[in-house]
Symmetry: C2
Subunit: 608 residues, 2 copies
């Protein structure tokens, strides 16, 4: 039942050798890895205008120079990440770059904040997409949390099915969104150029003096605009998902994404300025522009629909990047080994499931109102941005390969810009981002504890050249018996065949039974010693454990190994299990976890 | 932690030999076993008047002859049960009597309906007691279900502590209730005799013609009054709990209980008639009488308080009888073996816990409104009453001991009366009791299925005189290895010491690793054959199971036994377990439940 349901949801298992076929072409990768970055166009311009609006509509012209600043930052990031892709073609992004060049802790900080960030990506994007859906269908508003959870589950299943199958489904909305916005921008500029539409408010000309404007405010507007850049790092983390030549394909995809992002972002910002759009609570900036350009026509709904869709799909970026990052951390022994295993469809299922579960928990905890988490999410991205650019800068300085100066300049410029953005975020939004200062140290310390456990285990298990294991001179076999049954006969027989010394142990609760048992035993097994333990407190395990202490001490002296044989009934039907005392399970657990005793389970299958 | 909490709640474990000290004196037994029967005085008279009131107050005088009928029934029951106690001093009541004399199915019907009945007793009495409490403190009304659950938990804990300790706590309220009602009746009769109080309504004289009265109505009133007799059987089920001479003490206690019940019931019925009390929705009959006699004085509240308390304590009767009945059914293999075991304090803990849990489920399912269950509960008592009396009658006829005719007459009278009551219950309240016709067959069929499972298991395990177990000619040991570690070294060593043939099995996911492993293995263990299995689907268990098929077939041909050694890491700290793949647990479960293979778990304890 379970396995056929699993097959229906996930698809049939794939052989390890089919891995190549699951890899991404550039166009599919663009769709699957850039939905996060591209979706931020839907709110990037709005974030800038919201800050400027605190001074007045007259300040809106500043959105143009700020957008140019964001575009410069974008260019710097794309250039920097292109270098990272070529230098670290095995993927891993900020974590690998920081760890290799800045040391373990820097790497773990980058990795930890990215892990948390991907969870935030999923929770925030799905919640935003759900809001878009419930705005269209207000009668569903009461079920926001449930809808968001269903969406996360659907995306999780798609990802468990494997990377390219998800891509096929998820690619079209991204393409449609890009087409929709390109048409919107083209039509908007054409109308504006031909003077076909009058602006809502007359926008103040560029360069108009704005009373009350401060550098702090401008920086804050810039930092808010930088939220449009989250998701840029996704490609550098996912290089191993690309078709060969992976690094080259990834770099090309990155540039394509950067170009599209630049066009859409600057286009929307320019139109917002030209049409004098002001941010409103009840309507997004993109929606206002689309209404100006198309009216409430089909194209308007097309723009709105694809925007809502891409917000949900942005979550998918997290699903591509999180499992790979978890794999990288796990293969360096900072995360549990289970993140190393590929599932039936060759995806890292445990990472996918962890991400899905964690984001569902976040959605429930915040009752679907995850917007408060956006600044935290920006900080979580810019910390690894800064660390990786700094790491690359140091790398060029240390290694000085051909043309290092240019490369170093690009990365150091990136480092400075991202550090600046990070500082601005901390300065202007400390109230929303302070928690990162608490949870990052906790995560890093967990990474360290896991690492030290694995190291110590590895050390304890390692077989050095001259290692000689303890010799086993003989075996003492202990068989707990409850009476004389076929199971006991079989166990005693087996014990005699493997052991040098066999003890049967009978725990009695009743003196009369005891006498009867002794007599029967001597008749049937005169060659096997029966040890009778009387249990005053009706416990089976306690007297046996006590006896084993004695046997163990003696066995250790003579280099004998102690084995306890425990019979286990295997009934035909599951419900029959409640009809049999589970004392054998209890005893086995006790012995394994409390003593150094080998426990042999001798199954006895009932034939009916 | 768990064990110290348990000790705090339940008390220190007792030795099996301390059992005698836990037994009941007559006076304590009276308190602990009669609270159910005595508490029905609180509503018995009211049930009769409620039926008569449908014709009019003029019919109330019929309550006197009906009460006499109930008293006759009570006398018949007490006499019958006295005979049962002496004949079956080992206890078991209706179940044992019916099974021995009427056959298996009659016994199981009696046993099954009593089991359900005890659960109903607990749920109904605790709910009634809770209603009494929330009537006094209306602000707690919203928490009826919670209060009832807490009460059940408290009574469960008291019973887990052991029979006499519960008795000490629970005895006083019963005594106080008896004292309160005796004082009430005495004072009431005195006032009536001295003419100190005028009746509320002038009661119609005995013999007054009542228009509209029918035999059906009178029978119904009689059947309702018989609800005062539930709980009479409790003593006969609990004889083993009495101090020696158990049977004699139990019989004496039964007669004492009958006498008290007769006095209280007839007293209350007489006073109700004398004072012309009519049943009211908002005030019980006992409360009205008490108010007439004492006014709203201390004595009034004393009567009300002890009545509420005894209703709650009536639940305790179920806790005394259910575990013993479950023990009887389990020792006849109709119920799971776990009901045979005595807990730390020598009570049958599993029965006590099952009863507590089941009644909590009933309380939750009926949201604390369990009054609808009362007729069902009466039917559940009168079925075993009828069966056991019939069984006794047959017994006397078959065995014809000295004086059998008198005994037979007593029991057959009992059988006829109880069958009549049962018929009346079915006739007059079918709508509320039909479900018994569904759940009783289900319960009986479950008993049969359990029985047939145990019988077939017993048969399969039984060692007959000439039985010779299969000989074991040698042992094949299979050691799954994941690399060369100290754990593997130890396992291989152990395998060599117990086995005649040792195979190491390595499941590879990667061709390169495979080659490396083979080379290393041959260097270190040239004498142990390494079987390498390549797993295309990244599954560990599937290839191993396939290999074991082959090995098993071969081994069976030569009478070799196959043992698989599975290493198990035992980390120092619990949370470390999630850092290790649990594939060993999975493999062991698969092997035990799917194959006939002995699984040896070799623990490896990490020292840090």
């Amino acid at each position: 039942m379970y396995s056929s349901l699993k097959r229906f949801l996930i698809g049939k298992p794939l052989k390890s050798t089919e891995l190549g076929e699951q890899k991404l072409t550039k166009l599919k990768a663009l769709a699957i890895l850039s939905s996060d970055a591209l979706s931020s166009v839907a709110y990037g311009t709005e974030q800038i205008l919201l800050v400027l609006a605190t001074v007045g509509a007259v300040a809106f012209w500043y959105s143009l120079p700020i957008a140019i600043g964001v575009l410069i930052l974008l260019t710097a990031l794309i250039l920097s990440y292109r270098q990272i892709i070529y230098t670290y073609p095995q993927g891993g992004g900020a974590y690998v770059v920081s760890r290799n060049n800045l040391g373990e802790n820097a790497g773990l900080i980058a990795g930890g904040s990215l892990l948390v960030d991907y969870i935030l990506t999923v929770a925030v994007s799905v919640s935003a997409g759900t809001d878009a859906i419930t705005s269209a269908f207000p009668q569903w508003h009461a079920y926001t949390v449930q809808i968001a959870i269903v969406l996360v589950i659907l995306i999780t299943i798609l990802n468990l099915r494997g990377v390219t199958e998800s891509a096929s489904v998820l690619a079209y909305p991204v393409y449609l969104f890009v087409v929709a916005l390109v048409v919107l921008i083209g039509a908007g500029i054409y109308h504006a150029a031909t003077g076909g539409i009058t602006a809502e408010h007359e926008a103040a000309a560029v360069g108009t003096a704005v009373p009350g404007i401060t550098l702090f405010l401008l920086l804050r507007a810039f930092a808010s605009g930088c939220s449009a850049l989250t998701g840029v790092e996704a490609i550098s983390n996912a290089i191993p998902n690309f078709k060969d030549p992976a690094a080259k394909n990834a770099a090309t995809t990155l540039v394509m994404m950067g170009a599209i992002l630049a066009v859409l972002f600057s286009g929307i910002t320019f139109l917002a300025y030209t049409y004098g759009v002001a941010p409103k609570v009840e309507e997004t900036v993109v929606s206002q522009i689309a209404e100006h350009v198309f009216g409430r026509s089909f194209m308007y709904y097309f723009v709105q629909g694809t925007t809502a869709l891409i917000l949900v799909l942005a979550a998918n970026t997290g699903f591509s990047a999180f499992p790979l990052l978890a794999y990288n951390l796990a293969s360096d022994k900072y995360m549990p080994r289970m993140y190393l295993m590929r599932g039936d469809r060759l995806g890292y299922s445990n990472g996918i499931l962890t991400l899905g579960l964690a984001s569902i928990i976040l959605i429930i905890a915040f009752k679907g109102q995850t917007e408060q988490l956006i600044p935290l999410y920006a900080v979580g991205v810019f910390i690894p941005f800064t660390l990786s650019q700094t790491g690359m800068t140091l790398k060029w300085i240390r290694e000085k390969p051909q043309g290092w100066l240019g490369k170093m300049l690009i990365n150091s410029m990136g480092a400075i810009i991202t550090l600046t953005v990070l500082s601005i975020l901390f300065l202007t939004k400390f109230g929303q981002v302070w928690s990162v200062l608490i949870f990052l140290p906790i995560i890093v310390s967990i990474f360290h504890r896991i690492h030290s456990h694995y190291s110590s285990v590895g050390e304890q298990l390692r077989v050095e050249a001259g290692y000689v294991p303890e010799q086993i001179e003989g075996n003492v076999i202990v068989v707990p018996v409850a009476g004389i049954t076929k199971v006991v006969e079989h166990s005693v027989n087996y014990a005699k065949s493997i052991g040098d010394q066999v003890f049967a142990v009978y725990v009695s609760f009743d003196r009369e039974e005891e006498v009867r048992m002794k007599k029967k035993w001597e008749e049937r097994h005169p060659d096997v010693r029966l040890i009778v333990l009387h249990s005053s407190y009706r416990s089976l395990t306690r007297p046996i454990l006590k006896l084993l202490d004695t046997i163990e001490t003696k066995a250790n002296e003579n280099n004998y190994e102690v084995t306890v044989l425990i019979p286990q009934f295997v009934p035909k039907k599951g419900w029959h299990n409640i009809l049999h005392n589970q004392s054998s399970v209890l005893l086995r657990t006790y012995l394994l976890y409390r003593r150094n005793i080998i426990v042999s389970t001798v199954p006895y299958r009932f034939s009916k």
